[in-house]
């Protein structure tokens, strides 16, 4: 397997390089590397070979290697799957040599960060990933996209700083960068707490946890074309970081860490989906949906941390399994959604929902792919999203086993918040999907055709997602054995009581048979169709099917005009949540001279997110004021700068004896 691992990494390097000259070949090479990565990852997860690529000590901070152990295997496989999907999409429709190269490089660094056993190597990979993310996000053309790119890059830099600080703290205690040594070391509770916060800050910027969620939707929205799909591959590194550093290395953490994660997760999930509802840009919508799902994952992880600190390995397992399942389902579905949205954008030239509608007939493949993806993200059975969200709820329902009253309470509250999130999620995806594909076609869209490109990534990811629910027991088996080292128990034994029936870790609590569901639900639908076909024979002969125009209360008004607009669909929700969303609407007369009856009005609505208004806007103001102050001492005269240097030197020198 070591050879396969090496070949996979080599192919990724080669692919990224080749893309600069022959983008399509480079993308295919990257895709091949990704597929090999899946093989390595799955093999490592199910307990086969655990390959190690020794890198020696050339980095200069101790020996380092790329290790595909159980956890890494799970995430490598996920990276491989999403990366392959994106790479195939790039191969199908070349998106420029630089972007292809960056996409390949990004997958490479994700794989390196997941495999690294040395913190410094991890940091290197992380920073390289940040650069890739920044370059992709800011590759857009207009000023707005550029600003969004800055935001993404800036937030990622804050994350990088937090990571460096955390590593510095751990190094100060252990004098090594070896992750294995860190995991074995016994750290004081205070250090654990601070390090927990620093790590959370770092990974939050990557996966979009409140209040550092800003970079994600902005980056998705600003990235050129398939860039957004590439960015979703990078999520894997963020989630992996949480697993590896928070759970494996720092755990067991103080109880408040788990509590904090529960609160943060629940709030992030709820806020994410509410913001998603208000978006008109397709990719920003998907970005906020990622924020929501990151929240759901954090809730699962919070249960796991609490279980770990209470020394209840089964509870920890329940939470971690739910979170891992959710990461898998979400990353695959989100990547597929972004690839599909790119196809829709290519076909229609629109990045927003508003002008779209009724595309299902002209873009059947995209409609099917986004349908699968939306069903997964909205957690509809029998697809994978439902299984993972069900596991998350089941983990939260174990709240009564929690060590403290606060944790028990928080579990209940988080469950309630998650239930609301799930409902709103359904609403949001119903809106998203129907606004693009259902209803009446407007204007020019009737002529839209499916792009002729090769839909490799689309079909591949779609098929994987379709079967994620069906093969859930097998998936849980693989994840369970992958997490065995972390949890100290084999999940497969407790979770899969019967080949087809799942129990949420605690046996005898409740059961779910996703495989059975994924067979019976379509079967029922089929049965209904067949029954109707058989029964209607005589009726149809007497009264043949007749198509009649759409009924608009007796009026033959132009249908496109009377159809619910995508953003109007979320209007009730905006009106209800007027306060937290900062929703404003006003009617402005555009033509003031005309008769009252003939006037044109514009309905202006705006949403100023509370977090922007109360956190980012004051922060930006403070930074601007501070920089204005600093600017005053910059006179531009050389002699003054020399004076500053002299003062600084004297101050530094005088500090030395004081500190001594």
């Amino acid at each position: 397997m070591t050879v396969v691992y090496a070949v996979a990494m080599g192919a990724l390097v080669l692919g990224a390089g080749m893309a600069l000259w022959v983008p399509r070949a480079g993308a295919l090479c990257s895709a091949a590397g990704c597929v090999l990565l899946v093989i390595v990852g799955v093999d490592a997860a199910v307990g086969g070979a655990r390959p190690v690529l020794e890198l020696g000590g050339w980095i200069g901070f101790g020996d380092s290697a790329l290790r595909a152990d159980g956890v890494a295997g799970v995430f490598l496989a996920l990276t491989g799957l999403t990366g392959a999907g994106v790479a195939f999409a790039y191969a199908g429709s070349p998106a420029g040599r630089w972007l292809t190269c960056l996409a390949g490089t990004l997958v490479l660094w994700v794989a390196v960060s997941i495999g690294s056993d040395n913190a410094f190597l991890f940091f290197l990979a992380w920073e390289a990933l940040t650069v890739c993310v920044y370059l992709i996000a800011s590759a857009g053309r207009n000023r707005e996209d550029l600003l969004a790119g800055y935001l993404t890059g800036g937030l990622a830099k804050i994350g990088g700083g937090a990571l460096l600080a955390a590593f510095g703290l751990l190094y100060a205690h252990t004098h090594t960068f070896s992750l294995q040594t860190w995991a074995d070391a016994s750290l004081p509770a205070g250090t654990r707490g601070v390090t927990f916060a620093l790590f959370l800050t770092c990974f939050a910027t990557k996966i979009g946890v409140l209040p550092l969620q800003g970079g994600l939707p902005a980056g998705y929205g600003a990235a050129p074309r398939l860039g957004a799909a590439s960015l979703s591959v990078a999520l894997c590194a963020g989630f992996y970081g949480l697993w590896r550093f928070e759970f494996a290395i720092l755990g067991p953490l103080p109880v408040w860490c788990g509590d904090a994660m529960l609160i943060l997760g629940a709030v992030t999930a709820l806020v994410g989906i509410v913001y998603a509802l208000t978006q008109d840009s397709m990719r920003r919508f998907l970005g906020y949906s990622t924020v929501e799902h990151a929240g759901v994952v954090l809730v699962g992880l919070g249960v796991a941390l609490l279980g770990q600190s209470a020394h209840q390995p089964i509870l920890a397992a329940a939470g971690l399994l739910a979170a891992t399942l959710h990461v898998c389902a979400h990353n695959l579905a989100k990547t597929l959604a972004l690839i599909t949205v790119d196809r829709v954008e290519q076909a229609t030239g629109s990045r927003t929902l508003d002008p779209l509608g009724g595309l299902a007939r002209s873009l059947p493949l995209s409609a099917a792919a986004l349908g699968i993806s939306a069903l997964t993200l909205a957690a509809i059975p029998p697809l994978g999203g439902f299984v993972s969200e069900w596991f998350t709820f089941e983990a939260l329902l174990q709240g009564f086993r929690m060590p403290t009253l606060l944790s028990r309470l928080l579990c209940a509250l988080a469950a309630a918040a998650l239930a609301l999130t799930a409902g709103l999620g359904l609403l949001a995806f119903a809106k998203f999907y129907s606004a693009i594909f259902l209803g009446q076609t407007r204007g020019q869209l009737a002529k839209v055709r499916e792009p002729t490109r090769w839909p490799g990534g689309l079909v591949g990811l779609g098929v994987v997602l379709l079967f994620l629910g069906t093969v859930a027991p097998w998936e849980i088996h693989a994840i369970g054995s992958g997490l065995q080292a972390l949890l100290g128990l084999d999940l497969a034994h407790t979770t899969i009581s019967h080949p087809l029936v799942l129990t949420p870790v605690f046996t005898g609590f409740s059961v779910l048979a996703p495989t059975w569901l994924s067979i019976t639900l379509p079967a029922y639908a089929l049965l209904a169709i067949v029954t109707v076909r058989l029964m209607r024979g005589s009726t149809v002969r007497a009264h043949p099917v007749r198509r009649a125009p759409v009924w608009v209360t007796g009026s033959a008004a132009e249908l496109a005009m009377v159809q619910y607009r995508p953003s109007a669909y979320s209007n009730p929700m905006r009106v209800i949540l007027r306060g937290p969303l900062g929703y404003r609407s006003r009617l402005v007369a555009e033509d003031r001279d005309g008769e009252a009856e003939l006037r044109r009005f514009r309905l202006q609505t705006s949403v100023v997110l509370a977090i922007d208004r109360f956190l980012y806007a004051p922060l930006a103001g403070a930074v601007l004021r501070a920089s204005a102050l600093v600017r005053r001492i910059q006179s531009g005269r050389l002699s003054i700068y020399l004076l500053y240097m002299l003062v600084a030197l004297i101050l530094a020198l005088s500090l030395v004896p004081i500190l001594r």
Binding site: T553, A557, Y564, V575, F601, L603
Partner: protein, 499 residues
């Protein structure tokens, strides 16, 4: 109160000189003034400043063709008449600009008769509505149009509302009446008055008695006949029964909209009891074929004691149902604050009936210009100040009890004996006058001109049309789900508006 009787005379004496008009003789409570067409707008503006309420604007044939505007001012109907000068096309300054109440009347005049006001462009949309053509004015990311009607949800009369919405809020509303314009005003022409009343009864069927009474009173005033006293009492009885039925209907519909099914059933039962009572009294469930110019065709076919018994029973049920209705928060919460109309808006649009009384404007034809038996019956005008749907429902609750009280009073008067029921009209009579009645929807004003004993021209100023012009403004902060509550609280009938 002593002043009230003197006021009309004051107006008759002072107004001409104020408005620069020439006074003309007319029946009581009707101050007729003649002005030049170009002074019409100025006179109307002064009337507005004096606190007059716009009633109607139309072309009259008599004594010479001209523009006639009617305004309610201090217990009188001030009638401004601007005769056409020579063969010149009629031109007058637009009233709609200074007085929103006149807009629809002006537009109707322009579209039907080609008489365009100066300084206002009118395109023919109001009286010839096209269900398919939406004129959208609100644009923006969220905005779209909901055409509601002409075929509406449930069993309702045809009217179309063009609702421009951002999804939840009602940003702009356009009421489109005249889908069921049947030309009823023309149908009167050439009929003898005792037959023409059948047409009046069928203009707005749910206000059959109000239309028949207003038409009959106009005829009686035009030919100078005082109807028999007994007939006036029966007219009051039928009019108040009609009010009961219409108000029960509005409250039942409000209950239906909240899915308060027992409440809906209760008020429907009360409405049906009133309808059956009318069937027993007159043989017609809507009291048709009774009222005739000069009086009534026959007295009620029920003993007065029995009639009182039924009314007592209805009042007894109403007391309980009203208490339950107002004690149901899920019902009242939907009405409180919904469709709030300010007093200024009511006055600008000259709104009448429970709609105006719900916004604190105490206007009631029975009180302002008492007619028929109402000159002898005490009447308390129920008003509420809040201006929301709840206030309009509360006005109706108050009026239900007031109507029951008036009914008992009228029945007491009837106990003293019917007397003569029908005064003959002089044959071949000629004359013209306004008549009015307070329909359940509000003040109804009818202009009738008779020539040689036959109806020559009829103009109807229906309360529904005048109040509907206000509906566009009834959604200041309300959302789509409030629509039905606000519409029912208006309690109007398109048949009356469209004629």
């Amino acid at each position: 109160m002593t002043n009230v009787s003197r006021r009309p005379n004051e107006l008759r004496d002072d107004l001409p000189q104020h408005l620069g008009a020439v006074g003309e003789p007319g029946p009581p409570n009707e101050v007729r003034l003649q002005v030049r067409t170009l002074a019409f707008r100025r006179a109307a503006r002064m009337l507005k400043a004096a606190g007059a309420r716009f009633v109607t604007l139309f072309l009259a044939d008599t004594p010479e063709p001209g523009l006639v505007g009617a305004f309610a001012l201090r217990g009188s109907l001030v009638v401004l008449r601007a005769p056409m000068e020579g063969s010149e096309p009629l031109t007058y300054g637009s009233l709609g600009e200074i007085w929103p109440a006149a807009r629809w009347a002006e537009q109707e005049l322009a579209e039907r008769h080609g008489v365009h006001p100066l300084g206002a462009s009118v395109d023919g949309k109001l009286t010839a509505p096209d269900a398919d053509r939406l004129d959208r004015a609100v644009h923006g990311l969220d905005a779209f149009v909901i055409p509601y009607g002409p075929v509406r949800s449930g069993v309702f009369e045809a009217i179309q509302f063009q609702i421009e919405t951002g999804g939840e809020t009602v940003e702009r509303l356009q009421t489109r009446p005249f889908f069921k314009h049947r030309g009823m005003e023309q149908r009167f022409v050439g009929l003898p008055p005792d037959r023409a009343v059948y047409v009046a009864e069928r203009v707005a069927g749910i206000a059959t008695v109000a239309y028949a009474s207003a038409f009959s009173q106009a005829v009686e005033r035009a030919v100078g006949v005082q109807p028999a006293r007994g007939a006036e009492r029966w007219r009051a009885v039928y009019a108040e029964l009609e009010r009961l039925a219409c108000h029960f209907d509005v409250i039942a519909k409000e209950a239906e909209t909240t899915a308060l099914y027992v409440g809906q059933a209760r008020f429907q039962i009360l409405k049906e009891q009133v309808t059956r009572l009318r069937a027993r009294l007159t043989g017609s469930r809507f009291a048709r074929g009774v009222i005739v110019p000069g009086g009534v065709r026959f007295a009620g076919r029920m003993s007065l004691d029995e009639l009182c018994g039924v009314l007592d029973d209805i009042e007894d049920q109403l007391v309980r149902d009203r208490r339950l209705f107002l004690g149901t928060p899920s019902m009242t919460d939907r009405l409180i604050g919904a469709g709030r109309l300010s007093r200024e808006l009511i006055e600008d649009y000259g709104a009448v009936g429970p709609l105006a009384r719900g916004s604190g404007v105490s206007t009631d034809a029975r009180h302002e210009r008492p007619y028929g038996d109402y000159r002898r019956l005490g009447l308390q005008v129920i008003t509420h100040r809040e201006g929301d749907a709840m206030a309009r429902v509360n006005v109706r609750f108050g009026e239900l009890f007031e109507s029951l009280r008036i009914l008992r009073q009228a029945i007491d008067h009837l106990r003293r004996g019917d007397g003569e029921l029908r005064q003959p009209l002089p044959a071949d009579a000629t004359g013209a006058a306004f008549g009015w009645a307070e329909a359940p929807q509000g003040e109804l004003v009818v202009w009738v001109e008779l020539r040689d004993g036959l109806v020559h021209q009829v103009h109807l100023a229906s309360p529904s049309l005048r109040n509907w012009a206000l509906f566009d403004h009834a959604f200041p902060k309300d959302v789509l789900t409030d629509f039905a509550f606000i519409e029912h609280s208006f309690g109007l009938t398109p048949a009356g508006a469209d004629r």
